[in-house]
């Protein structure tokens, strides 16, 4: 299992994987992101923190090209994507795990797992995925939405791992899940990080991300208002409290 994940380790850690500059995003008439700047280096896990409606999910959806309109710059591994169609952006090696999980009701678990096409070599094999998430193997022929919330979240992560994506956007992976499931998801995410995957993690629970992420961006009203490293966070936890009001 660990070997399989290690195979995904990127060639050059530390180079820029994603650079967002001056990103504005709109849904119809409503302007949801106001000049967001974010940088993610290869192999890094970056967390986006902030209250509901701060623009975290919109930032992920903007990277995937799923908002109505975007302006500014989103460079992925050297390619400007701000005017690209979503299916072409995905082919640059990104896997997206949406907040609502996006498990398809008319597909069974196996079909859900096999749905995203392989976009790069080096993805996890189905056997490795079952080793990471044994629950899925037992429910292979159930309709996708008959799974529990936790199993649906595992399936949503698992299907991305198959594709060979080396950069994963995880939106609230622990939302609404029981503590024991949160732990299991946390372990899986940590293992993926050790395997060298680059990730952006959107979370409400600082407790969950503080043990995983290398760096944190704090968002408010469609802006990035602060950024700090894991060491800075450990030294000064109160700094976040003012933003998040927890």
């Amino acid at each position: 299992m660990a070997d399989a994940v290690m195979k995904m380790a990127p060639a050059a850690a530390g180079e820029t994987r994603l650079k967002i500059e001056g990103l504005n995003a709109y849904y119809g008439e409503s302007h949801v992101l106001h000049g967001v700047d974010i940088e993610v280096r290869r192999g890094e896990v970056v967390a986006l923190l902030g209250r509901n409606g701060a623009g975290k999910t919109s930032t992920l959806r903007s990277i995937m090209g799923l908002v109505g309109r975007r302006t500014g710059s989103i460079v992925l591994g050297g390619t400007e994507t701000v005017a690209m169609a979503p299916h072409r952006i995905a082919r640059l090696g990104i896997g997206y795990v949406p907040e609502e999980r996006g498990i398809f009701a008319s597909l069974n678990v196996q079909e859900n797992l096999m749905l995203p096409p392989v976009i790069r070599p080096g993805g996890m094999s189905v056997a490795d995925i079952f080793a990471l998430f044994p629950n899925l193997k037992e429910r292979l022929y159930s309709p996708g939405t008959k799974l529990s919330g936790g199993e649906q979240q595992m399936l949503a992560i698992a299907r991305i791992l198959r594709t060979g994506a080396d950069f994963i956007l995880l939106d609230e992976p622990t939302e609404g899940l029981a503590p024991v499931i949160v732990q299991q998801i946390g372990q899986a995410v940590r293992r993926l990080k050790e395997g060298g995957l680059t990730m952006i993690l959107v979370e409400q629970s600082i407790h969950f991300v503080s043990t995983i992420a290398d760096r944190f961006y704090v968002m408010e009203d469609g802006h990035v208002v602060d950024s700090l490293t894991a060491a800075e966070l450990a030294a000064d936890r109160d700094r976040l409290v003012t933003y998040l009001g927890v």
Binding site: P86, H87, A90, S106
Partner: protein
């Protein structure tokens, strides 16, 4: 010879076969409509006109290129499919952001244009299209006479419906289609070119109508209005089966064809309205249709 409740078996089975033939066309057309509705959310009113186009393409091929029935069975659906792709790419695509009603109005316009143009060019009397030599004649089954061509139409339509069902429910491509029907944006975010899939779905959906048109050419005359006569019943079939339900469209196609046939035997006066009476009852009792999911 036995008799059933005073009805000669020849008449009963003759009508049942006729019902099954009609049902075969209902099933093929409502199948295409259901596939298109599922993926595009468009009620394709042009379906009947494209069925007519399929029959005319078969007739053109024979008249001007000497290509007979078997060649037309392949070529006419391809031509109709390509026409569909052009319609979707250049026009229909622009309407997805609007309410469903606009797609319906647009395709209704396309249907009127196609039918009007053919009516102007060919009149309404219709062109005859010969039954292919291989399927001329028929056989006496004892209880009824079965023309070979009609038997072939029933068998082919069942095969096409089964193949389409298999492709959608059991193949990888079909799983893309089902997923994109549910959440097209997410499927596209996985790296699948959904806009091209939508275009091809429309092309394949109308190609099925074109195929039905070729199959109909030797039975009914090739006539600019052949589609508009049929499409009204087919819409009732789709409503009864449930919008967007592939299985429902096919099963209700055959069932309603047979039921129409039976009505012709037992209550001939009602045979033209029986499908619509059922549609009204289904809409009142189960608006999502017999096989549809409530949204």
């Amino acid at each position: 010879m036995f008799e059933l409740i005073g009805i000669p078996p020849q008449a009963l089975f003759g009508q049942l076969l006729l019902g099954l033939i009609n049902g075969s066309f209902y099933a093929l057309l409502s199948l295409g409509l259901a596939v298109i509705f599922g993926m595009l959310n468009v009620i394709n009113f042009a379906h009947g006109a494209l069925y007519m186009l399929g029959a005319f393409v078969a007739w053109f091929l024979l008249e001007y290129a000497g290509i007979g029935y078997w060649g037309a069975l392949i070529l006419a659906p391809v031509v109709v499919g390509l026409v569909g792709i052009v319609i979707e790419k250049t026009m229909l695509q622009r309407l997805y952001k609007l309410d469903h009603l606009y797609g319906l109005l647009f395709t209704f316009g396309i249907a009127l244009i196609l039918e009007g143009a053919f009516k102007h060019e060919f009149g309404v009397s219709g062109q005859s299209y010969a039954t292919p030599a291989l399927l001329k004649g028929g056989t006496n089954l004892g209880f009824m006479f079965l023309p070979f061509y009609r038997g072939w139409v029933v068998v082919l339509s069942i095969l096409v419906c089964l193949a389409t069902w298999y492709a959608i429910e059991k193949t990888r491509l079909g799983s893309y289609l089902r997923a994109a029907t549910e959440n097209p944006r997410l499927v596209q975010a996985f790296g699948i070119n959904v806009p091209v899939m939508i275009t091809l779905t429309y092309g394949v959906g109308v190609a099925l109508a074109g195929l039905a048109g070729v199959m109909a050419a030797p039975i009914y005359s090739v006539n600019p209005l052949m589609g508009s006569h049929l499409i009204i019943v087919v819409f009732a079939v789709v409503v009864i089966g449930g919008m967007g339900s592939i299985f429902g469209a096919v099963v209700s196609g055959y069932m309603l064809g047979l039921l129409e046939g039976l009505t012709k035997v037992f209550l001939p006066e009602a045979s033209n309205i029986v499908v619509f009476v059922i549609m009204v009852v289904v809409l009142l009792l189960r608006p999502a249709g017999l096989f549809g999911r409530e949204r």
